[in-house]
Symmetry: C2
Subunit: 446 residues, 2 copies
């Protein structure tokens, strides 16, 4: 018997859980090795231990997940699922409250907190589990994740503008705590939004490497919410489209291009502090300090039209090469972009209306987002086209400065707009992390 | 540096492709170890080599895929994707032809064959690839799978009844080759079918351990079909719901129960011959000998209602325990079912209208199916419920004997019918395997 598979087996069953040594999730040495094996990255240094790995077949291991036994702490300074290295699968759900009782809302958040703390550690949603307890009562877990490891599950909770005021009504006595920046996003140029895939009082982002684990989490949280909140819309995603850690290779979106090369990374804490976490400036939003804003946009891609474009047109639209992801101004994937370097025709090599020129921080006053989106395919449309695209998620310290201006600009002028259509939109305030014994968003109700 | 992760890395990058040594896909010794590590099965014997593995944490490794570098041969006596150990993810697409030219149909099948043979081996859809060839022409691959390994991709092609005759019209001169059993499935009791999720002239089942690989395959085959066929409907699935090999643990469906315990397994070739492969009896369907019939049923589960049932009711409906999957007549998961053993009340311990009693071969004249379904969640309905369930796929030698009678019976009397609704339905004839130099279904056009 060759030794590798046996070691593989052992590594899988005894891999230590990830250690939490700082406000931001850190990977343990073993976890780092696992992530590096998954990402095929050469030469990594994070946290305490710097490890050198060589893998000549780097990209070919990109689909290998970290050990499925890896879990992230639920409690901490910030909610997990933001700077956490992006997992491979998503189930995102927006909820509307069906109660108008502040106490029931608080009770729901308490129940969700308890269940989330359990499920992220690979346990059932409730203490009795799917197959024990009273034979005559519904189980407190639905059972489809029995035996499945934590799979790096994170659950991230957010509060929509309508939680604070809906149809002019302050249902929960929260209107005077609504942060100035937590307003429904404006209608952007070329938006074609479906109300049934937009907005919501509450949201939960479930990310895991196993879709059954993410689906199980949302399904149980929806079950727990019965009588208090109901799912407004939900979205599955696969194939994360952004790295959030330097230990991850840059994945590809359904245009076939690398996506998120220049994304903010967990290993840039000063930039994360500046661009992702909400400061203490807004007195109405003091409860949100240390939290973030989650912008969700369902972006359909006109796949069939894109696929008929020559490679040259595709690369001009994006501003990077398809193979390498290198800027059209030259170099390799992570080379700086040169927006002024001109070709023989005197025009910039990176077109000024290319996607990368439109969204790059250098052309947006230095503003950066932490993107955390996922590819999606939701079957097909009645026209025989794939209902597919990118479920865009970005975490920013303030959508008014960090999202609205850029989206307004690219909706008007980005060449990529010809190939996409925004069909869903939502904004949520994501409270800071939860302390042991407290519940998510507790400061809002203090 | 601990040795395990490095060995893991090596095992991932150099695992040998699976060997084809017989009409049915066989796993190599290394492949077997990989599959066993994934499935956590104790004591396995397949083909030439019998290997003993012990893993006390068996179920906890269930989500670990086989090495991503594993590929299956495209050419062979039978199409791959039938007795192939079920992969973790599905993208299924049904197509309608937009041409009425027999030559164009043949050309499409030739083009699909060439692309499928490439993609299942981890190559691009076309010889030039996503990033080379003429700069002014559309790439012959869309690029989102660049760097992703084969991920056990299989592509299985099928022909619907309408390929032979549609609205009374014989578009392709095939009407006299339509097998007697290839007729639209009847309307079953309690069917609530959506025409937009049913039927189709052609189908492709793409299964892989990485959803991006399955989606990439369908997307490129749809691209190649442009002008000749268009997607009629498509369905993504995750979390296979049936084992098709004894080397796999029994997965769980979204009712939280193990599904497919008594499924036909690849390691039972005599039963597979008897129940899955089409024989040579039907002169009109001689081209189908060695093929199979694919029954697809989109089965919505009323998740929220199920979740409010006591454990006792859930187990009575299924006829097995939730934890272990053991028959209610006693024993463990793989114990024989005793449909006559009565409890103290004189009633059978396994209710006669329980799902397992309804579908068990002992109660259906010995008829068996090779099930190969997947869990799905397609967002939520307008009522705030998950649009979720089981995308049922079964391969049978004849739907008239092996599907219609059972479905008629369970639609009428199965207690499980209270919690499910069939929303899509399709039947396809799946031609036998393809020889090098030929194209899928070639005998039909001979």
């Amino acid at each position: 018997m060759s030794p590798e598979p046996v070691d593989q087996l052992r590594a899988r069953s005894d891999a230590a859980p990830v250690e939490e040594r700082s406000p931001q999730p850190r990977v343990s040495r073993r976890g780092l090795l696992g992530a590096a094996a998954g990402a095929g990255v050469v030469g990594i240094g994070i946290g305490a231990g710097a490890v050198e790995l060589a893998d000549r077949n780097a990209e070919n291991t990109a689909a290998q997940p970290a050990p499925a036994s890896t879990s992230y702490p639920f409690y901490g300074e910030h909610q997990a699922g933001i700077v956490t290295p992006a997992q491979d699968r998503l189930h995102f759900a927006a909820f509307d409250l069906t109660t108008e009782s502040r106490d029931e809302l608080i009770g729901l958040l308490q129940d969700w907190t308890a269940a989330a703390a359990r499920m992220t550690q690979g346990q059932g949603a409730g203490p009795l589990g799917p197959t024990s307890g009273s034979y005559d009562a519904p189980p407190d877990d639905t059972g489809e994740a029995i035996g499945l490891p934590p799979s790096r599950l994170t659950l991230t909770f957010g509060f929509g503008p309508t939680l604070f005021r809906k149809d002019g009504k302050d249902r929960f006595g929260l209107a005077d705590r609504q942060p100035d920046s937590l307003r429904r996003l404006p209608h952007f140029p070329q938006d074609n939004l479906d109300a049934a895939k937009s907005d919501g009082d509450l949201c939960i982002q479930a990310c895991a490497d196993d879709p059954q684990v993410a689906v199980h989490a949302i399904r149980n949280l929806a079950r727990i919410a019965f009588g208090r909140a109901a799912v407004r819309w939900s979205q599955l995603g696969f194939g994360r489209t952004s790295s959030t850690s330097t230990a991850q290779v840059t994945p590809r979106n359904l245009f076939g291009f690398k996506d998120g090369t220049a994304n903010l990374k967990a290993e840039e804490p000063a930039l994360v502090d500046q661009h992702v976490w909400v400061g203490a400036g807004d007195p109405r939003g003091a409860w949100l300090a240390g939290g973030s804003y989650l912008v969700a946009r369902r972006i359909n891609m006109t796949i069939e039209i894109w696929d008929r474009q020559p490679l040259g047109e595709q690369e001009t639209v994006i501003g990077r090469t398809k193979a390498e992801g290198a800027p059209l101004s030259g170099g390799t994937e992570f080379s700086p972009l040169n927006f002024t370097l001109a070709g023989s025709d005197g025009e910039p090599l990176i077109a000024t209306d290319s996607h990368v020129a439109m969204v790059h921080p250098d052309n947006n006053g230095g503003v950066q987002m932490l993107r955390r989106g996922y590819n999606f395919v939701d079957g097909s449309t009645g026209l025989g086209r794939l209902d597919a695209g990118l479920f865009f998620i970005a975490y920013v310290c303030d959508p008014v400065t960090h999202f609205t201006p850029i989206q307004t600009k690219i909706g008007r002028a980005d060449r990529l707009s010809e190939y996409i259509q925004h069909t869903g939109s939502a904004l949520f305030a994501v409270p800071p992390g939860v302390k042991q014994g407290e519940y998510v968003g507790q400061a809002l109700f203090a």
